[in-house]
């Protein structure tokens, strides 16, 4: 997009400067607004201008394709050992809404070895169709084999929207496909919608550690691709009586062409360690005081049937392993309940957990920033409060 200011119309009210998310992109020059090279063309100023002195022009970008050839919404069904990742089911439900708004069909794309059974889940959660790619070469996710086959499918069937869970595999996969088919890809979306006029997919995601939100579109390229954070989209009740069309996809991928080999998959021993899928997470920060006190966090997590996490401070101090870290440089989570114990709430931590449904913060410093995002806050010593909570929850559980 290109933004233009019509100098004759400008009344110098500066409301465009207030609306501009990029400091220094608009300056006042002799009482008239002027754009600098810091302008990123987002057009936020045009909406704010009361006298229509700002024009936003779409710049035509050649993509060499006719976007009208592309129809249908696809959801990539991620599986490991033939178990579907929850986020894929969430995306079927979200994809259903998008497909309805577009008046088109929704399909699940299932890749794996002996995975026909999984197509039932696609239909139960709302898909009209399922594309099935089945064979030993697709047993585990591998960038090369998976990309080769899905690119063949995209070129053959031309979907307009393709959604992936923002998991390590989903993000690895989508990024590779988008470059090969020259599609636009938006990472880590937390909201999707269809523009009622243009029918474009509007993809909203946090940026700068969750400090701002950006809505991204992809006007001239297809498919429109997005990875979506786990736990953000809501699942509906499945209806396993529903059925749909299964399209078996022939493909030319051979094991000898795939140079990447998975030698072993090792699951972390601790149960419920998968932070991104946990419904309840209890995390400890610097306030726990040392590795010897982390059991307080684990105990509370266990009695709640949740997972134990940690802040960067606790991980950097070497108290807790990195795979438990919640935050921008760790895992992004959005559980139903997040309990932050002795975590001050640095932006980098908030970025990873502030979309949780209910946040409880326990900290001895009443000024700690974590209280700003908390649903419930307790000012107190975690060494007293956390064991007490654990005890009370345990009693409740036993009483039931």
């Amino acid at each position: 997009m290109a933004v233009k200011i019509i100098a004759e119309e400008c009344i110098g009210c500066e409301s465009c400067i207030d609306a501009c998310p990029f400091p220094g992109a608009i300056v006042m020059d002799d009482g008239i607004a002027k754009l600098t090279d810091k302008c990123n063309g987002c057009g936020a100023c045009a909406d704010a201008c009361a006298v229509e002195a700002i024009l936003v022009e779409e710049t035509e970008v050649k993509s060499g394709i006719d976007i009208n050839d592309y129809k249908g919404v696809w959801v990539f069904i991620e599986q490991r050992d033939n178990h579907i990742a929850n986020v894929s089911l969430e995306l079927i439900c979200e994809g259903r809404k998008l497909a309805n708004e577009l008046g088109t069909e929704l399909a699940g794309v299932v890749l794996g070895d002996g995975v026909e059974e999984l197509t039932k889940y696609c239909f139960a959660y709302g898909a009209d169709k399922a594309y099935l790619v089945d064979g030993p070469v697709f047993k585990d996710y591998r960038t090369d084999s998976y990309t080769d086959v899905i690119v063949e499918m995209i070129n053959r069937y031309k979907p307009e929207v393709v959604l992936f869970g923002a998991t390590n595999n989903g993000r690895d996969f989508a990024a590779r496909i988008a470059v090969r088919v020259h599609a636009g890809l938006t990472a880590d979306c937390t909201e999707l919608g269809i523009d009622p006029e243009t029918k474009q997919l509007m993809q909203t995601r946090p940026a700068f550690g969750g400090n701002i939100m950006a809505t991204i579109i992809c006007p001239n390229h297809r498919p429109q691709m997005a990875t979506v954070r786990p736990k953000v989209m809501k699942k509906v009740e499945p209806d396993f009586t529903k059925t749909g069309e299964i399209i078996r996809v022939e493909n030319s991928v051979k094991e000898e062409d795939v140079t990447t080999k998975i030698l072993e998959i090792i699951e972390h021993a601790t149960k419920m360690i998968n932070l991104s899928e946990a419904e309840i997470i209890v995390s400890g920060g610097r306030g726990i005081g040392g590795p010897e006190n982390y059991y307080l966090i684990e105990n509370l997590a266990e009695v709640l049937g949740g997972a134990a996490g940690a802040s960067r401070a606790a991980v950097d101090a070497g108290w807790v392993p990195h795979y438990r870290q919640v935050g921008q440089t760790g895992k992004t989570v959005a559980p139903k309940l997040y309990v932050a114990c002795g975590i001050s709430g640095a932006i980098q931590h908030l970025a990873g957990m502030q979309t949780s449904d209910v946040i409880v913060a326990i900290n001895k410093d009443p000024e700690a920033p974590i209280f700003k995002v908390a649903t419930f806050g307790i000012v107190g010593d975690i060494h007293k409060v956390v064991p007490l909570l654990t005890k009370k929850f345990k009693e409740l559980k036993e009483a039931n």
């Binding site: 690895d172 940026a207 939100m213 998975i262 990195h322 795979y323 209910v358």
Partner: protein, 260 residues
């Protein structure tokens, strides 16, 4: 080996203007993206064991040269800056194309290292994009390098709830997670050497790139709107005579919300 890095604003220092709800970026220090330092460290470690040369490359405005110097000070041998007005407003598609063209001009590396993602955009898309533009295999979220052989490597790749052990051929693009290592600090000597080092700047002409694939022209995505996130309203502070009462009150409220 080539390491791709990015200069980013230190997001831990980004503040929000409370009235306008916009970012205040003035005075925010620029740093080398933290994950990219892990990538530099991984390359330096392999150089120590197996020899070879480490070149760092970045695409950015002229001031991104500071980030390159920091990596030189850590011990990288060479640095290249890709900078041109034609690269402005690139999304991850165009950025990965530009970096791939730069890497091609440097030569044929055995390993291209990237950080897992940059902390300003958090997309994790540029590493795989580079690999695709160059037609190379990729392993992302690498938490450990187990073995580097003549024609390939064995690495651990983190996945949800565990990790996988992956064998991959070379040349390859490896995107590293933070847990892979602890990046070294620049030495005094290194900093002085880095200061004197000449860093070439390559633009559109030097790369011989296709202009239709650069900058805004090469970017399929557009930012339609940027806005401040809805903040949760001020939460409720739970108070009571003692910890026991406070805990009981909290449990009651959580049960009301049906989260426990």
């Amino acid at each position: 080996m080539i390491v791709c890095i990015k200069q980013v604003p230190d997001t831990t220092d980004v503040k929000i203007d409370p009235e306008k709800g916009t970012l205040i970026r003035e005075g925010v220090p620029s740093i080398v993206n933290p994950f990219d330092k892990n990538a530099v460290e991984a390359a330096l470690k392999i150089r120590e064991e197996k020899g070879g040369k480490v070149t760092v490359i970045t695409m950015g405005p002229p001031q991104a040269v500071d980030a390159l110097r920091e990596c030189l000070a850590m011990g990288a041998d060479d640095a290249i800056l890709l900078s041109d007005r034609a690269f402005a407003s690139s999304d991850t598609w165009a950025t990965s194309y530009t970096l791939a063209m730069g890497i091609k001009k440097v030569g044929n590396p055995d390993i291209i290292f990237c950080g897992k993602q940059a902390i300003d955009g958090d997309t994790a898309q540029v590493g795989p994009g580079i690999a695709e533009h160059l037609g190379l295999p990729q392993v992302t979220y690498v938490q450990k390098i187990k073995e580097v052989k003549e024609d390939g490597m064995i690495v651990e790749r983190s996945i949800e709830g565990g990790y996988e052990v992956v064998s991959v051929g070379m040349p390859v693009m490896i995107a590293v997670d933070k847990s892979i290592n602890e990046p070294r600090f620049p030495t005094m000597m290194g900093t002085m050497k880095a200061h004197k080092k000449e860093i070439p700047t390559w633009g559109l002409a030097e790369l011989g790139a296709d202009e239709d694939k650069l900058g805004m022209n090469g970017s399929p995505t557009r930012v339609k709107r940027i806005f401040a996130p809805e903040r949760k309203g001020q939460g409720e502070m739970i108070q009571g005579d003692d910890e026991s009462e406070v805990c009981a009150l909290l449990i009651e409220k959580l049960r009301d919300k049906k989260v426990v």
